[in-house]
Every structure is written in C-alpha cells, then in structure tokens.
Amino acid sequence: MKRYFKFILATFFVVQFTSCDKFLDVNTDPVNPAHAPYEMVLAPAVASTATVVGGQFAILGCLWSQHFTQSNTANQYKTIDGYRLTSSDFNTSFDELYSGALNDYKTVINEAEAVQDWNTYLMAVTMQSYTYEILVDLYGKIPFTESLNGTEGNISPKYDESDVVYDGLISRIDNALSKDFSASTNKLIGTKDLVFAGNMDNWKRFANTLKLKIYLRQVNIRPTVAQAGIASLYSAGANFLTTSAKINPFLAEVKKQNPLYGSEVEYLGNSNLRASKTLFDYLAANSDTRLDKIYTPGSGGHKALAQGDYLALSTVYPNGSLSSGRFSATDPVYFISLSESNFLQAEALVRYPSLGGDAKAKYDDGVISAFTRLGLATGATFVTSGAVYDFTTATTPEKKIEAIITQKWIASAIAEPIEGFFDFNRTGYPSFFTVSVNSAIGGKFPQRLLFPSDERSRNPNTPTQINIDVKVWWAKQ
C-alpha cells in the first residue's frame, strides 16, 4: 500500500512537471486576434474620423458656426456656447482621432505600401491627411512628425507648428497621387471602402479637393504658397469632387446611428441644440426654404434664441418652445460635400482670375447642390438673376468672397458645420455673427480648442496652453 501510494505521488509530480511548459502556455488572447488584414482596418479608421468630425466636432460647429445655440432649458453645451471651454472638454475627440483613426490609417499606409497596393494607400493617406488637417486647424499645433510611434517607443511626441503640418500633408498627398495606379499589385477593395466603394477616380478628386482646401486656408498667412499651389493644381488639370466625399453606413438603430443624431437625439433627447437667431433670421429674411429642412418648429411654431442666450428665463422661452435641429439617424457624415467642393472652386476662381474658370457657375452649383442635399429641387430659383442669392449682385472680388462664404456657411449647417466656423475665422464672413450672450472672453469670438488635458497629463511635450481667443496661424488678422 505504502509503496503503491508513493508511486502515485511520484507519477503525479513527474507528469505535471514534464508538461510544465505546455501547461502554462495558455496566454494567447482567445478573443482578440493578433492581426487583421489592412483592408479590414481602413473602414473602422474612416468610421472613427466620421464619428468625431460628424459627432463632437459637428456639435462644436453647430454652436460656433451659429447654426444652433444652447437651449435655455438644458445645460449640455453651455461651456461651448459660452466660450468657457476647459482643457478636458474635447479629450475624447482628440484621443479617438489619434489612437482610433490616425494610427489605424498609419497601419493601412504601411501595410499597403509594403505590398504596393497604391489604391488603398491613397485612400488611407487622403483620409489621414483630412483628419490631420481638422486637428491642426482646431489646435494650431499638433503632434505630426513624431506622432503614432508608440510601439517604436516614442510615447511623448513633440508638437509641430501649423506650417510644418500643412507642408507635410501636401507632400504626403502628392506622393500618394504620384503612385502607379495601373500596377498589378493594386487591390480593389470595393465596398470595404465606405466612402467611394473603391472608385479611385473619386479618391483622386477627393485628394485634389483636399489640397485645394489646404491651399485656400493659407490665403492670409502665405498668399504666395496658396496661389502657387492652386495654380499648379489647375495647370495640371486636377479634377475636383463632383460627388460628396461622405459615408453613410448608418441605420436607425442604436449604435449604428449617425453620431450627431446618436449623441444629441438618441442619448440627450434633442434637448440642447436650438435654432440660433444668426442663421435662423438670415434664412427667414431670405425666405430660404431650407429653414424647414434644418429646423423643426417648437411647440408654438418656429422660434430662435440669440446666440449663447442659454440663461434666458424659461418663462420667456418655455421648455419645448424653441425650434430644434432636424437631425436624422441615417444622415450621412460628410468629409467634403459637393457644395463645399463647388464653393472651394468658386473661391479659388474669384481669388485667382488667371485660373480662367467660371466662379458664378461654381457658386450656383454650390447653392443648388446644398438645396438638393436637403431634398429641395428649388435651389436654382434662389440664384437666378434678381433672386436673393444672385451672385451677380456681388460686384467686387471681396463681395464675391462674402457671397460664396456666406452660402458655404448655410450649406454647412448639419452636414459639415465645423467648416462655417473655420471660414468665419479665415474670412470674417458671414458678417453678421454675434458674440455669445454669455461669452467668457468678452467681445471676441473663439478661435481654437485648448490643448487637451489628456495630452497635458501624459505628454510632457504638450505646449503651454493657448487661450481659445488666440487666432490660429491662417486666421484673418
């Protein structure tokens, strides 16, 4: 018995310990894969850009572009509408764009480059550049040349000045456009491309339009760079977007909704964004039929609130009485809409007559396509001779720019609202913006976002804070 027992014991130890290594080899994550093909990574990166640009940045745009204002019977966006941001307000958006979008584009770029798939390469470069541009326009300085190197050991990338980022983006887009798109190594990823379903011609147009936008941003700070860049685009016969660069995979279902709708309507009960008198009054004054496509009337019909007047008494504006936003769960998220493409071209043609194009045609197309996007076929009647938006009434180049930017601002409502804010700071148009009633920065308009507190606490290279009333480099002085 005793011997038998010892034998069992001995066998037990031997069996256990000889298989020791194998027994302990169970530390491979069974739920998350070690790798996924890069075509599968592109779509979530695009979705990430869309979620921020079409979500939190859209809300910021709704307020700072004065399409909407904070309701007096809710609280969510008082900090934005009163220009009293704190550095933690946009952490989520900044964080998502870097780790959720930009880094994934980088992976796609690297892996597509390795197999010389220039189609997917161009898509990722264009989307990454688009994302970087929005960031640099909002923050002034961003991590760029040293960013996205966490796995290579750089967890505190330095911040680059705007011009470094701008020049870098142009050269990256140019490099991607210069690749061999007839090479047999190129992949056709079809519907894995959420934007154009693999249509490379549209991607090249998107890249060109983005370049145009980047150059136009610089008309104040580096007019010669802007002009030369645009001239070379035109002289090379660059095609621009004739269809919107957008995604629309959204469903009327929680977690599949348009992010602006998901946040503002689904989650917050459409209780915060209310019609701002700035846009509302302008549309009303011009009997612009888009008013009813942008706003839903309140309980007693349409009513708007002065920008930032969120402390107004509920006895004056009872809950539910103000017009709210007409957001839809299935609205697309626009990166560059067809209207924006047209207005960009119109602006370029006004600024640089030597390009030899028809600015009015582009302007008219921009207005008409903005109506069309809202399901209105009557856009043309607003731009015909003698109509309220007739381009020919603008007689000087400056008046023309004003007409273009003002229309571009209306067109950006709900679709790409942040553009209205950028254009206002770049051009000073629309001329009738009003400072928030509850402005924390006096009679000034906001110009930028604060460097995020997440970066401040994690990246020692985060620059000294710059107040939101300090202009970014391309702003109109």
């Binding site: 599968m40 979530p44 977690k255 997440d454």
Partner: protein, 1053 residues
C-alpha cells in the same frame, strides 16, 4: 453509575498491571477535547523522569516506562496540561486552556497551529460569533470583530455584495480582495453585476452564499508572512474558511436553525419640509424639485389637466413620503445539519434555505438561496480519505440604481408636497407615463419598479477530495484535489419607455434586453508532506513541503439588443436591431512549490521560515518564476522567564517578514487587434456596418517583460495578558510596501495608443492593530466579556512614475477619484469656487460663485481608524451581546446628496430662508486696463450683488461655495452593528430527551447609525462602484442599507 464504577475498576486493574511490569511500552493518542482532532507536537513526559516524546502528525506517541513510573504528563501550548495514568492504546483529550485564550488556529494550507507559537498575526473567529447575528453572510458577521479587516455591505438590497479588504489597499490597478480558501481550496469570490452609472445592480459576491451555519471557523491571515505560502495570490491577505465536520463521538447530532427577520431602511436622507414644488421660487406644476414657494397648506391644483380633469391636494409637506414608499422586508433563513461519526469516520450533511424579500414594494428585490453540503471522512491506520461536496443555487432579483430611469433616481426627484404612495397605480390616468407630473427625465418610480428588472440564477458547486497517508510516525503525505465552479445566467431588461403627450420631451427609452451567461472554473491540487521529526529534547520541529497546481478559467458571453418591438416582452429576439455580443474567455494557470518549517526551542522560542516559488502562465515565458520567502520569530517571555509571571499571565513578542505577489491578468504581454467600436461621449458606433465586419489596431501596448506586483511586509507585535488573563492586549505594527504595481498606464494618444502595461510605483500601507480582551466580571453565574478591536491604516502612494502624474481609479467626470505620488490612494478632485489672492470667493455678475479654472483636491476616502466594540454578558441561561462598529475619517461621494441639492429637497437649501443673500466674504473681479486699452490685470472688489431669490436654486445646484465638495460627505459613523439577546432553555429539561438543547434569541442588526453633521444623507457604507478600490468612491443613487430585527430558534438533537 454502576457502569462507571466498573470502568474505574478496570482502569485500576490495568494500572496495577503496569506497576508490576519493569519496562513497559505505551502507545497512545492525543486529541483535542473540543473537536476530536489530533494534536501534533504535544509533549509527553513520564512523571518524575526526564524521559519524554512528542506526538506525530496523527497525534500519536509511543513511550517507554521504566520502573514504577505510571503517570504521564501531557502538555501542549494553549491546552491545559493533563496528568494521566499510562495505559497502552490510551487516548488523552486535552482541554483548551480557556484562560489563556490561546487557541489552535488554522494557518496557511489548513495547518493547525497554536496561536501561541505563531510569529505573525492571525485572527480566528469561531462558529458562534459567525452565526449568532443570524446574517446570511459569514463575512458580514465578521464586521467589527477583526482588527485590520475592513468589511462593508455595499447596500441593503437582498443578496448584495460585501466588500472586504485587509490592511488597506495595496494595488492601484489590480485586485485588493483577499484570497478566499475553503477547507484548503481557493474559492472564487466574483460578484456578478453592473456598475454602470445608468443602471447599476449587484447580484452579490459568492463567498456570501456559503451558509454560515456550516462554518466552523474563519481564520484571517493578514500579513505577508502569514500568507506567503499562497505566493502570488496572497498580496491582499488570505481568509481561510474551515467548515464543520462530524465529530467522532458515536452520536448523531442534528441541529436545526430557523431565523426570521424584518428589515427597514436604516437611513433615509434628511429633507426640508418648508418649500414645495417649483423652480426659481415659482410654483411650476411640472417641476421635479422643491424650489417653489413655501408650503402654505392651501388646496392647490397639481399635475396635468387630463380630459378636462385635474387633481388637487393641499400644498403641505409630506415628511414621510419616501419612507412610506418602502415596505418591511422579510427574511426567512432555515437550515438543518446532521452530523455524526465513529472513531475512524465521520460525516456532516446540511441543507439551508433563505428567502429574503427586500424593502422595495412587491418582491422585485429578492434573494433566494438553497445550499446543500455533504462531507465525510474515514480513516485506517495508514490512510484517511475525505471528501466534500457543496452545491449552492441562488436567485437574485434587483432593481437598478443610478441615473436615468431607476427607482432611486425617480424617488430623489419628488417635490416635498407629493405623497408617493398615491403614485402606486402607475397605469392610472394621472400617474401613467404620458400624464405623470414631470417631463424632466424621471418617471413614476412604481413604473420603473414594476417594468424594469435584473435577475440572475447561479449554480455554484465546489468541493474536494483528499487523501492523507501516514508514511512514518513523523511524516504524513496529503493530496487534495479541489474544484470550484460557478455557472450563471442573468437577464436585465428595460421596458420601452416613451412618454408622449405632456411628457414627450422626456428621455425616450427604446427598451432593451441583455442576457449574460458565465462559467467560472477553478481547479486546484495541493500535494504536500507534513513532518515533525524528532530533533532533541529541547528542540522540536515541524513543517510542510508541497506543490500546488492551479488552473482558473472563465467563459462569459453577454448579448444585448436595444430597441424592442413587442412591449412587455423581454427576449433577445424581440428587436429589429443587431444584437451586440460581448464575449470574454480567459485562462490562468499556476504551479507553486513551497516549504515552511517551525522550529521551537524549549517551547518558548519559535522560528518560522519558508518560501514559495510560483510559475505563472500570465508572465513571460522564461521569466515566469518568482519566489516569495518568509521568516519570523516569536518569544514567550512568561515561559522563558517564569519570574515574569509576577507581572504577566502571559507575554509573547513576535516579529516577522514576508513577501507575496500579485501576478498580471491574462493577455497583458502582447498587443492585439480588437473588434471595432467607436465610443463618443454620448453613444457609440459599432461594426458591423454596411454588412462589413472590422477589426482595428488595439489601443493597448502589451508588455513582454511584465513582472508580478511584489509586496514586502514587516510586522511585529506583542501579546500580553495580565491579572490571570482577565486583561489581554494583542498589539501589531506592520509596514507593507507593494512595488512593481501592474498598471495599464495611460499614454498620450498622440503616440497612436491609449495605454501600455507597465510595472511601476510603490504603495505603502502601515498601521497598528490592537485587540483588547477584558473579562471585567466573572462569577459562577454571571460573566461579562468585552473585546475591543482598533486599527488605523496609513496608506500612501510613495511613488508612481514620471510617466504618470496620477491614476484614475474610477469616479466621475465631474468629481474624479485618483491615486498619485505623495498622497493616499483614492483622493477626490473636483471643481471649487475660484478665490482671489486673499482667499475670498470670486462671484459673477449675478453674485454666484465662479468655478475654479482647474480642479482641486477635495480630500480622500481613507479612514483614520476603525474600531469594534464587542460586549457579551451571560447570566445563567441568558445572554446579551452587542457589537458597535466605529469608523472615523474619510470622505465619500454621494449622488443622493447631489440630487437632493439639485431638486431643493436638501435641508441645507433652507439657508437664509431662501431669501437673497450675498455670498459671505465674496468679491467680484474687475479687469484693469492700461492706457492703450489692453487688459493688464484684475482687481478684486467687495461683492455687493446678492444671489437673487430666483438664483438660489442655481447657487445650490452648483453646491454653493464648496461646489463639488458639497457632494462629498464625512464617512465617519458609529453603528450598533449587532445586538443579540439569547436564552437557552435549562439543560436539565432535556435529560433523557431526544432534544438536547433549545436556544432562542432576539437579533438586531444595524439597529442604530450615527453620522456626523457632514452627512445627513446616506449610510456611508453604501457604494455602487464594485468591490475594489473604485468602490470606495461612493454611491450613485443606490439602494439604502437596512436595519434588521428578528428572532432565531436553534434546536439541537
């Protein structure tokens, strides 16, 4: 009597026989009279000689008697020395020396040792203490009884969790829960539930499901030297639970215990009873707050006009409207245990059943538990075989807490002039969703109560089989195979709640169903040798050496749909939306090898030394082996220097040092891709989208060189007793440092990633623990026992890393909860009012305080000290005992407080009778300009603008001058934790009867709670953020704790 005479005669005859022999070999066995277990290492001496021996691992001895020696002196620390006549085959039963209060305690790997010989602090609580309060949880019954053990019931909801920590929090990112071991086998103490802000529920931790009536003792290994044999799982201490066994006394014993108790809320927030419904001083009929005019008792209309009808009632306070909402909870706890045995074998079988219906109306909050235990062992001279099997089924139903549509949130937002019970009929014309008086994202609490729900059904099976072989007299081998698995299914559902009409602007809930299935498994094998070789007359030794194999795995799948189609039907199929699947699978394996020896010199000097080496699957290959040593020394002054007995009845000094670890969670070594979901502040976007699946580069950078967290702990202490042991004090000082903290360190997202696993930092806990035992009165019929436990733990994060300024431990976006270097873990950060250089409050143009630009530190959650006061009195057959639990210091966040201020129900909002007032000591900031008109500075001038009557609500909504600090309450409290009045029917009634004893008792738990002025809202023990450090943050509209009053009947056959 005749029998006894006969027996005595026999003994005498045998004795005579012995006298006649010249040399006689005697063998026998020494057992504990209390539980019949063998005593290892007892000293046997032949009276009048120097010859002696000690008992082996089975309590057996063999000794030779020379000449006419006939008596043996049997002694063992903690036991009364017995002088007995030597008889071959004899069994000596030693009584424990009650006066010495020196028990045999269960230590690591289930080894029983004399408390007296231990070099470290171990506290043991026995069956009676665990069961007399009648709580369904053995852990709750430990409250206030062990110094250094912090136990809190997270709420009064039936079946809710009990949070346990020992000697403070050591790990910033990992678990801080002690390891639970039942009869030598580690048992999973998971607590299914949700800590979501928008619907938290707690299905309770698993150790709470063990029937306390089945437990013989709970032994608490507090420090690293006590727990080092559990190596990389022992960093937070170990709690050893030993279950009851049948006694080997040839008699069948049946014990029936029946408890019935009733519960009511212990503390309902104080509310003002002066102002009624409204906002900004106006009487608004749709407001969810009491910012209206003074209640004047006049009849007024209220609520909405429905079909040309409107209700009216007196505009007067309803002081008890919230307490009227709650019902009396009921708990029925019945158990039966049958046990018995003969010399070589024993068994124990029990069954228990609990039904607990909590304080919410109806039985939506309930806990049902059925537990079955079977245990037996049989032995031959060579082999002892034991087996144990436990099956527990629990069903819990809970109502969710938190913001949004939760019963508690709905309750908090009711004006003071509203009677709640009148809303009971939630489908009636005026009470239904569309016509309920307010659209402000709260609904009729009775609606949420009836229509939403959270349930779980869990089966837990655990047990073990063990074989013990006596290889040599001094050597025993044991193999114990244990298994523990828990399998549950839970269902949570939220009704389609889409108020229309008057309330169309209220939050629209599309309805949801979430189903979770989970399987958790732990397999554990220990194989070890226990040895007690004879060294010499003065030096004795015993020890243990063994190996451990442990494998843990869990499989979890949660599936949910949001957006239901059929109302009142809750199944995953009832939705047109894509179900969200959240799978989780994890595996963790471990090998361990350990050795520990105790060497005693003349029974007054004890040396304990040992180590454990672990090989863990979650550490990098090739670097997965870590060693955890321990060493300790204790010295019994009263045994070494007998003269010292003039001062001390007993005096012992001890010092020890040990190391333990905490290995990483699985899969932290490598980076992965993850299924793509983009979350934004108020929602998320998740793939598949457009029929396309997607994975993205994960945001966590794995660390292929990760090491376990390492805890090094030094402790020393003294156990001193005076006045014939009527006064005893046990003092311990410890200092524990935990380095190599495993943290998912947040890194700048601009690196492309959000976080990286790292080892860094050092957390220190040091403190003292005092146990004071007093027997102030002891006569033949009356005895008063008193014991006081005291502990103060000082926690400090010594260092983090230059990469990491602070670690977010949980908390909210408004009030954060952090750890950072130089501060205790768990400090609060929030908004305070801005101050000018002289410290005066800066106010804005309306006279309201301006928030500071940056958040400031508001205090921390650490207790200054904990104290337990236990007194018991026995007079003949009566007994009275009570336990006070005292906690001092620390803050706790309370959303209940926050919301009460928000809606104007908090009594503090009566400040200045709500008339306009100037914020005391306040200034206004006036910019100063230079000649060119540019701002050059700010001047602070005395504020003369009062906060207007309309803005008083705004003032308190922001927390007044203290802002976020207003929601942080003083956690100090004094609580009458337990009061038991017992009566045992006189023993003589039962002579010759089937029944051998009947005990009756009246039980109260949580009878009284005293909180300081700084807390008028909650029981500071209630938390809604889980059982780790984050739980310390506070409560987020959770269920109140309860007071229990009941009675217990115990019948022993």
């Amino acid at each position: 009597m005749r029998k006894l005479t006969f027996l005595l005669t026999c003994l005498f005859l045998v004795g005579v026989g012995l006298v006649n022999a010249q040399t006689k070999s005697i063998s026998g066995k020494v057992l504990s009279a209390e539980d019949g277990q063998p005593i290892i290492g007892a000293t046997i001496k032949v009276k009048g000689t120097t010859a002696g021996t000690i008992t082996n691992v089975d309590g057996e001895f063999k000794i030779s008697l020379q000449g006419d020696a006939k008596n043996l002196v049997v002694s063992y620390v903690g036991m009364t020395t017995a002088e007995v006549q030597a008889v071959n085959g004899m069994t000596v039963k030693l009584q424990s020396n009650a006066k010495m209060i020196d028990e045999v305690v269960v230590t690591a790997i289930g080894i029983k040792r004399s408390q007296k010989a231990l070099t470290y602090s171990v506290a043991q609580v026995n069956s009676e203490e665990l069961t007399k309060g009648g709580d369904r949880s053995a852990l709750n019954s430990l409250q206030g009884k062990v110094a250094g053990l912090n136990i809190s019931s997270s709420s009064g909801a039936p079946g809710s969790s009990t949070r346990v920590s020992l000697r403070g929090y050591s790990s910033i990112g990992g678990s801080n829960e002690p390891l639970f071991v039942v009869d030598g086998v580690p048992i999973n103490n998971g607590a299914p539930g949700s800590t979501s802000l928008k619907g938290s529920y707690d299905f309770g931790n698993r150790i709470n499901d063990i029937n306390p009536n089945d437990i013989a003792s709970v032994s608490v290994l507090k420090g690293a030297s006590a727990s080092a044999l559990y190596g990389s799982r022992a960093a937070n201490g170990v709690i050893l639970i030993t279950t009851k066994s049948g006694s080997q006394t040839d008699k069948l014993k049946v014990e029936i215990v029946s408890n019935t108790s009733f519960s009511s809320p212990l503390k309902i927030y104080d509310m003002q009873n002066v102002y009624g419904q409204g906002w900004s001083s106006n009487h608004e009929l749709i407001e969810n707050g009491s910012w209206g005019p003074k209640m004047d008792g006049t009849p007024r209309l209220w609520g909405h006009m429905v079909g040309n009808q409107q209700q009216f009632k007196n505009f007067s306070a309803q002081p008890s409207n919230i307490s009227d909402f709650y019902e009396v909870g009921q708990t029925y706890n019945n158990s039966i245990a049958i046990s018995g045995g003969k010399e070589k074998s024993n068994f124990y079988v029990s069954y228990s059943n609990i039904y607990d219906d909590g304080i919410l109306p109806t039985n939506v909050d309930h806990y049902k538990r059925n537990a079955f235990t079977m245990k037996g062992s049989t032995s031959s001279s060579f082999l002892t075989t034991s087996a144990q099997f436990n099956y527990i089924n629990k069903k819990v139903s809970a109502s969710q807490g938190g913001q949004g549509y939760s019963v508690y949130n709905n309750l908090l937002q009711i004006p003071r002039d509203f009677s709640l019970v009148d809303f009971r009929d939630y489908k009636s014309t005026f009470n239904n969703l569309d016509n309920y008086y307010t659209p402000y994202s709260v609904v009729n609490p009775y609606y949420t109560l009836a229509e939403d729900g959270n349930t779980i059904n869990e089966d837990k099976v655990f047990g073990n089989v063990s074989l013990e072989a006596n290889i040599k007299k001094w050597l025993k081998a044991t193999v114990k195979v244990g298994e523990d698995f828990s399998n549950y299914q839970s269902l949570t559902w939220r009704a389609i709640t889409k108020p229309q009409g008057y309330n169309a602007s209220s939050t629209q809930e599309p309805g949801s169903v979430t189903r979770t299935t989970s399987y958790t498994n732990e397999f554990n094998v220990d194989a070890f040798l226990t040895f007690s070789p004879k060294i010499s007359e003065v030096i004795s030794m015993n020890g243990i050496a063994g190996v451990n194999v442990n494998a843990r795995s869990s499989n979890y799948l949660q599936s949910g749909v949001i957006g239901l189609d059929l109302p009142y039907f809750y199944e995953l199929t009832n939705s047109s939306s894509t179900p969200t699947l959240t799978p989780s699978t994890s595996q963790k394996r471990l090998y361990g090898a350990y050795v520990q020896t105790d060497i005693s010199y003349k029974n007054y000097l004890f040396l304990n030394a040992g180590f454990r080496n672990d090989w863990s699957s979650t550490l990098p290959k090739g670097a997965n082996s870590f060693m955890y040593p321990t060493i300790g020394l204790s010295f019994l002054l009263t045994d070494a220097v007998p003269e010292s007995k003039q001062v001390f009845s007993f005096a012992k000094f001890r010092a020890s040092y040990g190391m333990t670890g905490n290995d990483p969670e699985p899969y932290a070594l490598k980076s992965t891709y993850v299924k793509s979901t983009v979350t934004y502040p108020f929602g998320e976007l998740s793939f598949p989208l457009s029929g396309m699946n997607a994975y993205e580069v994960g945001n966590v950078i794995g660390n292929p060189t990760l090491k376990p967290e390492l805890t090094k702990e030094f402790e020393f202490g003294a156990d001193l007793r005076f006045l014939n042991s009527r006064v005893g004090i046990d003092f311990t000082y410890y200092k524990r440092n935990t380095t190599n903290q495993i943290l998912l360190v947040p890194i700048a997202h601009s690196s492309g990633y959000s976080s990286q696993w790292m080892n860094l930092g050092n957390v220190q806990n040091q403190g003292i623990e005092i146990l004071l035992n007093l027997i102030p009165v002891k006569t033949k019929s009356f005895e008063w026992n008193s014991s006081i436990t005291f502990s103060n733990n000082r926690n400090k994060v010594i260092e983090l890393s230059p990469l990491l300024e602070k670690v977010n431990l949980g908390g909210l976006t408004t009030v954060g909860f952090y750890a950072s270097a130089g501060k205790p873990m768990g400090y609060y950060e929030g908004t305070v009012s801005s101050r000018d250089p002289q410290g005066r409050v800066i106010v804005d143009a309306s006279g309201l305080p301006v928030a500071s630009a940056t958040k400031e530190i508001l205090g921390n959650s650490q207790l200054d000290f904990m104290m337990g006061l236990t007194n018991s009195f026995t007079y003949k057959d009566f007994s009275l005992s009570f336990v006070f639990d005292i906690r001092k210091g620390g803050l706790i966040y309370s959303r209940t407080s926050d919301t009460n201020y928000f809606v104007g129900n908090a009594p503090q909002t009566l400040y200045n009778d709500r008339n306009p007032f100037i914020v005391p000591n306040s200034v206004q900031a006036v910019p100063t300009y230079n000649a060119a008109g540019a701002q050059v500075g700010t001047q602070y001038v005395e504020n003369r603008t009062p906060v207007s009557a309309e803005k008083v609500a705004d003032y308190w909504n922001n927390g007044g001058v203290d802002m976020d600090k207003t929601w942080l309450l003083d956690k100090s409290c004094i609580r009458l934790r337990e009061l038991v009045i017992g009566y045992s029917l006189p023993k003589k009634m039962f002579t010759g009867k089937v029944i051998s004893a009947i005990n009756l008792s009246l039980i109260g738990r949580n009878l009284l709670l005293f909180t300081p002025k700084g807390n008028r809202f909650i029981d500071p023990e209630t938390t809604s953020f889980g059982n780790n450090v984050a739980g310390d943050f506070g409560e987020f509209s959770s269920s109140p704790s309860v007071r229990n009053i009941g009675f217990s009947l115990k019948v022993t056959l």
